[in-house]
Symmetry: C2
Subunit: 188 residues, 2 copies
């Protein structure tokens, strides 16, 4: 039994559980008692670690925003030299990192987007992430020799296509990777 007996829960344990819940059932499913049950404890623990639920959600957003773009940018720039190769790498990896990462990876993103549609705090975080990602993709297109204007448009279309495919994949499983590759061919 490699079971590590629960010595003491960290704030991160709660946050990870919350992202799982978020991905599975949406923002409204993030409830203190539900998370407590999943962590086999009680909400007394929750309210010891966090002031209240809104504060907790704010921490979720902070964590997500910090990791949502960084890890992908890192993976891309470290596995290919500047040029079209990086875009192909990007198209491949974004479609296969479902639910691996701590903060829920990409499987929680549709839920966060709906969250952003409803709550202002999440909306501003989402806007910053969208902008950062589009700027990054734009740079990749610029590195392929495109003008700033063309690169920007293609970055937006590339990203929009990804969002759409991600949204559809959340309901009915499809091969996002191959479609992203085809989209990229048309954009280059």
């Amino acid at each position: 039994m490699p079971r590590k007996l629960p010595i003491s829960l960290t704030p991160n344990d709660w946050l990870r559980a919350a992202f799982v819940q978020l991905a599975a059932a949406g923002v409204q499913a993030i409830k203190a008692e539900v998370l407590a049950k999943q962590l086999k404890t009680t909400k007394g623990s929750f309210y010891w670690h966090f002031k209240d639920v809104p504060t907790f959600k704010a921490e979720m957003l902070k964590l997500w925003e910090a990791e949502a773009t960084r890890s992908i940018m890192l993976a891309v720039t470290s596995s290919a030299p500047p040029g079209p190769q990086r875009l192909h790498v990007l198209a491949r990896i974004v479609s296969q990192m479902n639910a691996e990462n701590d903060y829920g990876g990409l499987s929680a993103e549709p839920a966060i987007r709906e969250w952003a549609r409803v709550e202002l705090q999440a909306a501003t975080a989402m806007q910053r992430v969208d902008s950062a990602r589009i700027a990054f993709v734009k740079k990749l297109f610029v590195d392929c020799g495109m003008t700033a204007r063309d690169a920007r448009l293609r970055a937006e279309l590339f990203y929009s296509g990804f969002l759409g495919l991600q949204a559809m994949a959340a309901i009915k499983p499809i091969d996002v990777g191959i479609r992203m590759s085809e989209l990229l061919k048309l954009l280059l």
Copy 2:
């Protein structure tokens, strides 16, 4: 005062109010008492017209599914002859019908998609709508002389791009129409 005194509420009044609420605050915001307040009545009325909330939601989905594709298809095929023109028309009209139609138009769609991510009943409806729309767009590409395979791929990318732009527009206002036009140029 052109105020028409509330003679008697119809089921459709409730449904329209619910789509407004859905677009504004998501599925979880569809609550009998909230809708009653918006219609300046009480939930006694709600439970007279409808058995319970789940049944009511099911009727919402039924209504939405019936109208979500039909009206757009009709508008496109009736305003242009077969060929690329129809795609341009489609790119234009889908981006400007925000919140006009009865069932919430397109402004409620991101919420319905999240709904579909969480509840099975909505997921099956959403899948059918997605399939119908993609099939329709595919046909438009076929009418432009494309092979079935190419047309299918382009229809998916066109639709995915639309979904992504729609999702982004729900958070931060952007010009969906111009971006859809540019996407279409690349797909033709």
